[in-house]
Amino acid sequence: MADAIEKVSPLHALAEPGRFGDTSGEPGVGLSERLCDSLVQVQAWPDSISALKKAVKSVTGASIKPGNAVATKGDVVLMSTGPGRWLVEDETDDLEVRLRKAIGADIGAVTALTHARTVVSISGERCEWVLASGIALDFSADAFPVGTAKLSHHHEIGLTIHRTGDQAFDLYVVTSMVRSFWGWIARASAEVGYTVS
């Protein structure tokens, strides 16, 4: 029996640590890549949303919040991605199995996305400016408060964007597209200078 499959960065040889772009002053943003330990989508039927919410709480201990507010508890993150649909992330390796046990076909559908999404994190003083240069959302703190998540896209690449701090966002990018997306965000960041960690 082979050992557990080793996770390999889809940004291998592309997102090398260092300082890039404008180096005349402090870097405007910092970029980093994160591979999820577990990322699972749950989708309720129209009449089973409350049952699905209870099931998610029983598995994760976190309660789904209304609207696009992100629920966090420990290492658990719950983000709304549409009516009756949420992304569930945590740092275990059996989240999908536990959710499948709790959410039968009568309640909804469970889809494992751990390997299908790569998180690109951006932080720093100019992160709103960098994101707004290519993504058609209002990134100001009034319109996009800390602790909320929104769906959007960059050209044809779908994005789930979680504002994790005043100057910090996590972008969940389709893994097969993340090299292309990284090419854009690195070029967009070059003008203000950026670090990769």
Partner: protein, 100 residues
């Protein structure tokens, strides 16, 4: 930038997040086998092609992915309203009154 309100997300977002999906409120015939060739053709291809307010379907393809309906003026490209799929078409006279 053209902004469209998604009735499911309850947010007004830029048009590139959305995809046009044809005229709205067209019911698929219950028994297509009973239709004449002309009736089937009309169902598949013949549309109102309105000049002015038009009931149409849109999809929030880069968001919640849901289909919804809209009333859009094909002359001005202005959205009069959007509403969830399955809801009755809104009263056009009231919508136009609200625009004045």
């Amino acid at each position: 930038m053209l902004l469209i309100h998604c009735p499911y997300c309850d947010e007004t977002l830029p048009e590139p997040e959305f995809a046009y999906a044809g005229e709205a409120h067209i019911d698929r015939p219950a028994d297509p086998q009973q239709l004449s060739d002309e009736e089937w053709r009309d169902f598949l291809f013949i549309r109102t092609n309105a000049k002015g307010p038009h009931y149409e379907r849109w999809r929030h393809i880069n968001g919640c992915a849901r289909f919804f309906n809209a009333v859009r003026d094909t002359v001005s490209d202005k959205f009069l309203t959007t509403y969830k799929a399955g809801e009755a078409r809104p009263d056009l006279a009231k919508l136009l009154e609200g625009q004045k």
